[in-house]
């Protein structure tokens, strides 16, 4: 797994590899120079292009894809091989696990 995956996603990918269970990952698209994120329309177009490209190269499809058009990000639920291939795409800046161990995303501080 490229270094652009966060350690938790790497761990989940390794864990899921044995039985090919789906993994959920949030992907960050590489922003254009000087900008925090690609434009909303670019985010949608690029996500579709990446998912199609990886589907074609792996012969598999994602279970779910959802685009955060204003944030330059998208989330994918797919088997580990699909996620790894997405991570290898040059347009991807980084990725992190959607589900965190122990549900560590906490509210109400």
């Amino acid at each position: 797994v490229p270094e652009r995956a966060d350690p938790e996603l790497t761990r989940q990918l390794e864990q899921a590899a044995a039985d090919n269970t789906p993994v959920e990952a949030v992907f960050v698209l590489r922003p254009p120079p000087g900008l925090a994120a690609p434009a909303p329309t670019s985010t949608e177009t690029l996500t579709r292009k990446l998912v199609d490209r990886v589907s074609a190269s792996t012969g598999r499809s994602a279970q779910d894809v959802h685009v955060f058009r204003n944030l330059g990000r998208f989330v994918v639920s797919a088997d580990p091989g699909f996620i790894r291939e997405l991570l290898a795409q040059p347009e991807v800046d980084s990725a992190l696990a959607n589900r965190r161990p122990g549900d560590e995303y906490l509210g109400g501080s």
């Binding site: 925090a36 990000r73 992190l96 995303y105 509210g107």
Partner: protein
Amino acid sequence: MTRFVDQELATAGTASVMVVLSDEARAVPDTATAAESLEPYFSASESSQLAAVALAADLPVETMRYYPNLGVAYGSVDRDGYAALRSDPAVEEVVGAPQLSLIRPVQRRSVRASATRTWGIDSLGIPELWAEGLTGAGVVVAHLDTGVDADHDTLAGAVSSFAEFDPLGRILPGAGPRDSDDHGTHTAATIAGREAGGKVVGVAPSASLASALVIEGGDAVARVLGGLDWSIDQGSRVLSMSLGFRGWWQDFLPIVRILRSRGILPIIAAGNEGPGTSRSPGNYAEALSIGAHDDSGAIAAFSSSQRFVRRRDALVPDVAAPGVNVVSAKPGGGFQTMSGTSMATPHVAGLAALLAEADPSATVTRLERAILASCTPVGGPVERVRKGIVNGPAALAALRSRARVSSPRAAIPSQPSPATRERSRQRAGAR
């Protein structure tokens, strides 16, 4: 992590732990069987997070929850259970666990709202801004929380849009406003609660709320991203977010920068774990981080504060606002008090809405600087807040002072929009 388990056992008698199964236990096809063999070691403590969640939802109390994809079990143990788990060959490691769900405010109780206004509103000097006709009209505040009871008397007409998000950050079709807890209704009414029965709990009682249910049940990164993404489309000028990861977690830093570049001031709670602690994204220099003070002006003992090694905004939180014994709306009707930086955050978000109404062209940076400039420093031997305690009239004066300086430029038709100026500023690397 075991140090935290030991501390929790010493103080509470039980501790929340995560149990990582050994490689051997995880190698078997049905890892749940191995996990089930550990169940007797866990306690069915009514004070455990699992029990709290189950009791709140009127479900049977689990003693343990197993995450098969992770090979990790979660639950509450006493000393004997902890020792047994650590010596079990199916267990690789036992570590302290972050709390499972919403961090409760440090105190809450139902009350009858006796005063016409809350102490927090008076403490901020908000009535002076109301007297000038500023009530937040036309300003949308994004509210990411446990949802909202939009039928509460004080919130009638306040929620202009609502969305509930699934763990992949998708909007649940047809989901109407609801509160999965009571936290969101409380914070929503502090921002934009209307007058009801002669009482006002909202700082900006004409502001509109874009309320997103993103926590409690199925907590996931994408769920919060979904709410943030959606809030941009709602035309929000201010974000009020009383949630965060314990410690430093940098993955939301670009998101906060995006919000600012889209003209949204991110106002985020610092945390309730006291001095030497903080939460992300509230501890980013790019967030307006909020601590809590009481009605005497003292920083609350629980209010997080932490110094970072960085050039700007090294001390978190930036400001403190009313966050102790705050009266606000309770789902289903009535009122309750809560204490926490979660309660202080919507006070500042409400004030930001009033300022945004006062100067609709004000950039994120100008709104933020006005709030920072309004603060009265807090003395004391321990540094607890960077700028001090927020004051509404002083913030308005600071905003107007800066507006007067910049108004001739604003009249030039080719002047970049606030969003463009904000993007240029961020490209230059300034805050």
